[in-house]
Symmetry: C2
Subunit: 390 residues, 2 copies
Amino acid sequence: MKASEIRELLKWVTENVISFGGGMPDPSSFPVKEIIEITRDVLSTKAERALQYGTTGGILELREELIRFMNKEGIKIDKPENIIITVGSQEALDIIGRLFINPGDYIITESPTYLAALQAFRIYGPRIIGIPMDNEGIKIDALEDTIRKIIDNGTKPKFIYVVPTGQNPTGITMSMERRKALLNIASRYDLLIIEDDPYGYIYFGDDHPPARLKAMDSEDRVIYLSTFSKIAAPGLRLGWVAASSEVIRWFELAKQSIDLHTSTLNQYIAVELLRRGIIERNIPRIKEIYRSKRDLMLQALSEYMPDGVTWTRPSAGMFIWLTTPEKIDTGEMLGVAVKKYGVAYVPGKSFYPSEDRHNDMRLNFTYPTPQQIFEGIKRLALTIREYLSQ
Amino acid sequence: MKASEIRELLKWVTENVISFGGGMPDPSSFPVKEIIEITRDVLSTKAERALQYGTTGGILELREELIRFMNKEGIKIDKPENIIITVGSQEALDIIGRLFINPGDYIITESPTYLAALQAFRIYGPRIIGIPMDNEGIKIDALEDTIRKIIDNGTKPKFIYVVPTGQNPTGITMSMERRKALLNIASRYDLLIIEDDPYGYIYFGDDHPPARLKAMDSEDRVIYLSTFSKIAAPGLRLGWVAASSEVIRWFELAKQSIDLHTSTLNQYIAVELLRRGIIERNIPRIKEIYRSKRDLMLQALSEYMPDGVTWTRPSAGMFIWLTTPEKIDTGEMLGVAVKKYGVAYVPGKSFYPSEDRHNDMRLNFTYPTPQQIFEGIKRLALTIREYLSQ
């Protein structure tokens, strides 16, 4: 498995190595004091429910709070029956694979795309076609060409998987024009869209974030995924899916045999994080932390990187995508980066469904400290310079 | 899906209906105050880890505490690498299906057996052969006959799934003799055993509970499953698997793409529940609650049930298995039981892999109050009498 190779490499990462390899939020953004208070309150008033088995779909109060939370962002969800609570978004990705993919089926993703989504889908044996991106997101012409070719083959892609805002791994946010075009294509060819939106609520660009696909989904063809991992804390393992009640019912049947339901206690904690406005008040703080760390990394990159190296300027998400000149294989370079220079990243290759590019890397800017960001980028630049001069 | 039919029926259950249908622990057994304290302590001292992403296998401290916990029960597990933390035992059952079952494979279970295990396995398309039980557990001769027949067919069962202590749904505890014979057969035919043990730690019989299969497993052929749902609280959604490090590694690879990892916060809560001796001190209390409720249900059953009705006398678990005369179809009777008499149960049919029996039912004695137990059994007896007199 590709991910385990990277894991092996990243095991070299000791205290002296600065890692841009992970995908973890800044722990200073966790609402710790509030979760302590909430847990006490929840367990003092409804322990007999919060510690008991619950329903597979998730507790009603949480689904109702999520409806309000999404409505504020323009996502119109009417009924709790349109929502299911999952063990992080990862579980939703696995269930999507289970529900929609039969071996040999075509599915479409951005290229590069979220590695753990590729892993989750691959279990079910699909043919994954990656569509190239530019700074506005997925390339619509290439997408339509691909869809046509698949249809000419006598079949149809099962879905189009996209991370429209602050994409993992590139940090790119799909433009409004592309979003409309994507929905239009999905409508014309009658296709499902999976909108994976972990970062939409913490968009930190200067402009207004473009509307969610789900907010413009008049034909119920978008399955929307999000998570508490970036707006509250990943350790709660809470995600949710919003879709037509029919799709949610399929999710429930699948989830029932996978794990019965998501932790009731954690769901009640999330209810109160929403109800008490803690998440709403926390979001500007998270945005500020992420924006300033991004700025710092961008600054360090322009300061230290040699000519010929390029990178994205994300307005959301947790990653910058860096591209070196063709002669460098970032997978091969990682060993030297870690062992000689003390800096780690994730090589870009495994984010491509076809693994056909070797000179990119993903850099996380949310977890390392400001000092680590500056020093780490310096080290990375030295590594790249060494390789370029060979 | 069978389970959903029962769910539909059980939706009729209103406040005026006494339900023996669920499988929930008595909420008065939850260590509420202690979980409040622990959450405060954990989040005050290590929130940056307890709320962050964790490793797929589970946090090291919890696996180490579980080693000590199991060792006290005679289960010798040496290393954290022999344990993985799951989202309840249900997730372990799903992963077992994913890892071991290809469509058409034979697997063997007790008959009747745990419904949610059947559901989890069935997703993967096996041929499930149920082996009849008596009061000592699975019938060894029938088991060996079945294994031989499968081998004569040129194949081999992928595993034998058993709930040896306080089985769900029958409440039967497998005798020591049968356990040894089962291990012996598994050894002779080189087969895996799945030992599902949610109830072993709260054995409330007068005698000493028989040793776990895993405690006698000298050949590393037992995959052992247990859960915090019955010794602490189901709402935490915490289970664990103990097996060879090779098997645990496969579990980790599967779980990584299913949900990354189990809630870190809940794992740290479990560490402290074990470390502070709270679970150990709580267990005698749970046993006492369960024993007295079982006694009450047994007393009510002998008082009210007509001749020809028989039932088990469990020393562990949460269920009594009741068998009516052949002329009654308990599935068909459920509607009348609920609507006319105000009492609910789970019809026995779906617990049989082959669904070839119609006159049993599962009765839960841990969740209803003492008053409900007495009144509910009275109502159930009236229902059965009406059906017998027709």
